[in-house]
Amino acid sequence: MVRDGYDLIVVGGGHAGIEAAAAGARMGCTTLLVSLPGGVGQLSCNPAVGGVGKGQLVKEIDALGGLMGELADAACIQFRRLNTTRGAAVQSSRMQVDLDVYPAAASARLKNLSGLDLLEDEMVDLQIRGDRVAGIRLAQGGELSAKCVVITPGTFFHGLIHIGSEHFPGGRLGDPAAEQLPQRLQALGLNFGRFKTGTTPRLDGATIDFLRLAEQKGDAEYLPFSVRSPRTPVLPQRSCFAGHTNLKTHQIIRENLGKSALYSGQITGTGVRYCPSVEDKIVKFPERDSHHVFVEPEGLNTPRWYPNGLSNSLPLDVQLEMVHSVSGLENARIVQTGYGIEHDYLDPTQLKPTLETKHIAGLFFAGQINGTTGYEEAAAQGLVAGVNAACQVLSRPPFILDRSQAYIGVLIDDLVTKGTNEPYRMFTSRVEYRLVIREDNADERLTPLGHALGLVSEVDYGQYTQRVAARHQEYERLKNHRVTGTAAVNQQLQAWELSPIQGSSTLLEVLRRPEVDYVRLAQLDPDTQQIPTEVRQSVDVRVKYEGYIKRQMAEVERFKDLESIRIPATFQYEGLPGINNEIVEKLTRIRPLNLGQASRVSGVTPAAIMLLMMHLKKKSNRG
């Protein structure tokens, strides 16, 4: 199965590794994916894909030709659209996924990719020739040469699992931690820090009293992540259930804080601020006497349920007492203990925007190792690393998305430019131009790029152009068709407490009213009923947000001004007149590709950027 030399070796079969390996192989590189036995596509934490900010990432991965959207669709047991009351630009999709089906689908997809070999082994060393990566050494399989290597170890580097005062090395509960490789990489000059994350205990569904919890069904309307997936769910759909902690729960936690690995001082790594452990929530929000607990199914054929909101690193007996204090979970049996895990992360400012290390050519890092949290953040990086490794092998220019193009662009720019001092999670609010980069237009933003890379097939690209045409056609229809203010129409408007139509209005004018959505429009204009949901979603936002979108597009243009002033890779900041040493040191370390990125390096002043601009302009005038 395994050949002698590869274009690309991807190490780690998690969400980052899957995308990196698939992208490399599909772009025509001979690719090997090395993972631990059973290590492909595991959902180590929450059995869900998507969510606010994360759904956008999945849509973008899919638009570029990545796998995550399809895999989630294949394993979906509940679909919901979030933030429907918060505004069209911040709406996100989220799926509960079956924890057995998801990895099975991932393995099946990867096995079917030509040019991709799969190997179960552990990488223990890196081979270097000059300043370039030359290959890897495996625990069992000896040495393999490669032009590029993408490392995606997740939480496995020096992973340390904490359950109460107990702690032991592990990459994930039941899996060994990686010890040799991180030491070797450190010796090569890469800097690592420590982060902490955690997961909840898993409960036996047969012992949960669901009647005492509030049922949360999925949305009536199913919208798959991927344009390539069937339009209806593949698997039967399931509900989630909502419960909440109470004063008793909080008291149990407070009394046992000393036993928590997090609060006894045993864990020193920085935790995820926005996905806090339950101990964190109790300590940081003492005024709240209740927190949500969403009890989520982990699959169709497993008794395991995931009580979202109870992540902790308390001893098992306290975990049990805490779970039992929640109404509906009084008799719940814990089938897997909750735990905290500390792990190494690579300071991501050591990476280029391609996710290649600055120190060692051909060596890429992607996923949680770069200081992020979440499957979607990992997958997005995996895709970018895989594509860029392939570009390097194929002598093609690097593939970099900017902050105005995609959430992926924001994610990677943030990581490599600013670094992170806590596990980085994607938020819509990190995205400056989120009115113009939305889930509904991910394909328009990225599919042509994915097609050019060779990740989007001709057939898919053909369907994409048809979708775009359908949106244009619908917009034109709205512009040209009119609704007449007949008695029936105006009666309906009046029933919605809206002003009547005098004479007639175009459909566009009617839809522009904030209170009128497509469902209402269809009641006023029967032809509208035939417009499919995907088209409706996309066109509705465009119509309603038109003025804002126009203004934001103008801002994007201004943003591109600085972004388009490139800084040569060999540019010498040292000795540049008027820029202080601290800024020189930072810019020399980060090596921004352009002035825009330079302006986002922390501590770089507007004055310094102006001086740089003048200097770069002068250079380009000369040269």
């Binding site: 606010v52 918060r86 505004g87 507007p606 102006m610």
Partner: protein
């Protein structure tokens, strides 16, 4: 392109005969440059590790190395200097020849002539001052009255900066709250945004107050505009001359003598006052005069304070009564001129009807009660401009950014909060970015050029 770390020099005091004149030299090589043109017991080059400011007695040397003036040289290390660079100030005697020669010697020995505002610009670039402070320095230099100086100093001390920082923080708090409910809470929680709405409304009111307050401050800074107006031949120009204490305007019995309005600056109790004499208002067929009257109306509209002049001996008509009421309602003064003549019946009746301390009998020609008139003007100015509230002066740039901020906040449709938080965030972000621009957190080359171009060389 200019080299930013090169050493610049300029005369920082006004050129002319004076006790001393100061040449400021700033940049890495400033010690070296000045050491070449002076002689002193202390070697300037030994001061590169200086921690505090130092004053050195020295002699200025001519090109043959002979002493030509006795000088004091102040040496300031980067963290103790205005520009944030090594700065040397040469204090020589204030004669034109000596200052010019000293500058010439410094320029020949490695410094280049500073551009207008370049010292201040370097101070900003090196993080010694923020943009508002830079603008305040300009305002201090250009203050011509005590009260204008007070305003500029307030600005320098952070008057506007603090308030903008405060508002910016409040806006960011509101923004964060909303972002939190989009990104973290999602729509799992039904949230209450009424506090955000009321916060935004409060901020809008504050900004409106700041803008209207800055109009007053600008008057104090540029001179309070007092216009004298009234019907022809009531003696406006005589009142004008009496207040000026000189025969500036032509006075003649002929109605319509004053055609072009005349303005003069006077100082009343630490306030600069721009006193304007206007053409008398009447129906006329004369083209030039009617053009003058049009101008008069513009003057009346723009004035901070109005002085309405009447002839005490003439009967008043309805039009004049209307004018009197208007002036009194708008913090103005009514002057009954020619008090040496006999009061007309209607005037007599008027005074008994309208009892106001802002109606004064004056004889401009005889100089009668002019002191009382001056006192009344002073009282009016104090009433209008010496309020206890914090006065904030703004430059055109600052005003226009603050206005943009208000516009962005005004375009927030609070009813959108129900289901379009994303749009609300957009407007809020625009408002914050206007604040950032005022504070110089975001800035473009154009803005900076504009800020610094008004400075004189040497600042």
């Amino acid at each position: 392109m200019k080299k930013r770390s090169d050493t610049i020099a300029a005369v920082s005091t006004a050129l002319g005969k004076s006790g001393i004149g100061i040449i400021r030299v700033s940049g890495n090589a400033s010690l070296e440059v000045v050491s070449r043109v002076i002689h002193s017991k202390i070697d300037l080059l030994s001061l590169t590790q200086l921690k505090s400011r130092k004053l050195i007695y020295a002699h200025l040397l001519d090109h043959n190395n002979s002493p030509i003036d006795e000088i004091l040289v102040s040496v300031m290390p980067p963290d103790k200097s205005f520009t944030g660079e090594y700065t040397v100030e040469v204090n020589c005697h204030g004669g034109i020849a000596v200052i010019t020669y000293a500058l010439e010697r410094i320029l020949k020995n490695g410094a280049r002539l500073a551009e207008p505002g370049e010292f201040t610009r370097r101070a900003w670039e090196n993080g010694k001052i923020d943009l508002i402070k830079a603008e305040a320095i300009y305002q201090i230099i250009n203050s011509t009255s005590l009260n204008a100086l007070k305003l500029a100093w307030h600005q320098f001390e952070g008057g506007l900066t603090n308030r903008c920082n405060d508002l910016r923080k409040q806006l960011i708090d509101s923004l964060s709250y909303i972002q939190f409910h989009i990104d973290v809470e999602g729509d799992n929680e039904s949230s209450d945004f009424s506090s955000v709405a009321s916060d935004i409304n409060k901020i809008k009111i504050i900004i409106q107050e700041m803008l209207s307050c800055s109009e007053k401050s600008n008057s104090v800074n540029n001179g309070i505009w007092i216009s004298i107006y009234g019907q022809p031949n009531v003696g406006k120009s005589s009142v004008f001359n009496a207040l000026l204490k000189m025969q500036r305007a032509i006075v003649c019995d002929q109605p319509g003598t004053t055609r072009d309005h005349i303005s003069e600056l006077i100082n009343i109790n630490g306030f600069n006052v721009r006193l304007t004499d206007t053409a008398g208002i009447r129906e006329t067929g004369d083209m030039i005069e009617s053009e003058s009257i049009k101008k008069t109306f513009e003057q009346i509209k723009a004035a901070d304070i109005l002085i309405y002049v009447l002839d005490i001996s003439k009967d008043v008509d309805e039009k004049e009564i209307k004018d009197i009421r208007y002036v009194l309602d708008n913090d103005g003064l009514v002057v009954l001129n020619k008090s040496d003549l006999l009061e007309s019946k209607t005037i007599n009746y008027l005074i008994s009807e309208i009892d106001s301390k802002w109606i004064l009998k004056v004889s401009a020609k005889q100089g009668e009660n002019i002191d009382k008139l001056e006192k009344a003007i002073e009282d009016l100015i104090n009433k209008k401009f010496s309020s206890n509230e914090e006065l904030i002066m703004m430059t055109l740039r600052q005003r226009s950014e603050l206005t943009d901020c208000l516009t962005a906040l005004n375009s927030i449709d609070l009813s959108l909060m129900k289901n379009n938080l994303d749009l609300l965030v957009y407007d809020l972000t625009s408002a914050i970015s206007s604040m950032d621009k005022i504070l110089g957190i975001i800035t473009t080359e154009d803005v900076l050029d504009n800020v610094f171009k008004n400075f004189c060389v040497g600042k």
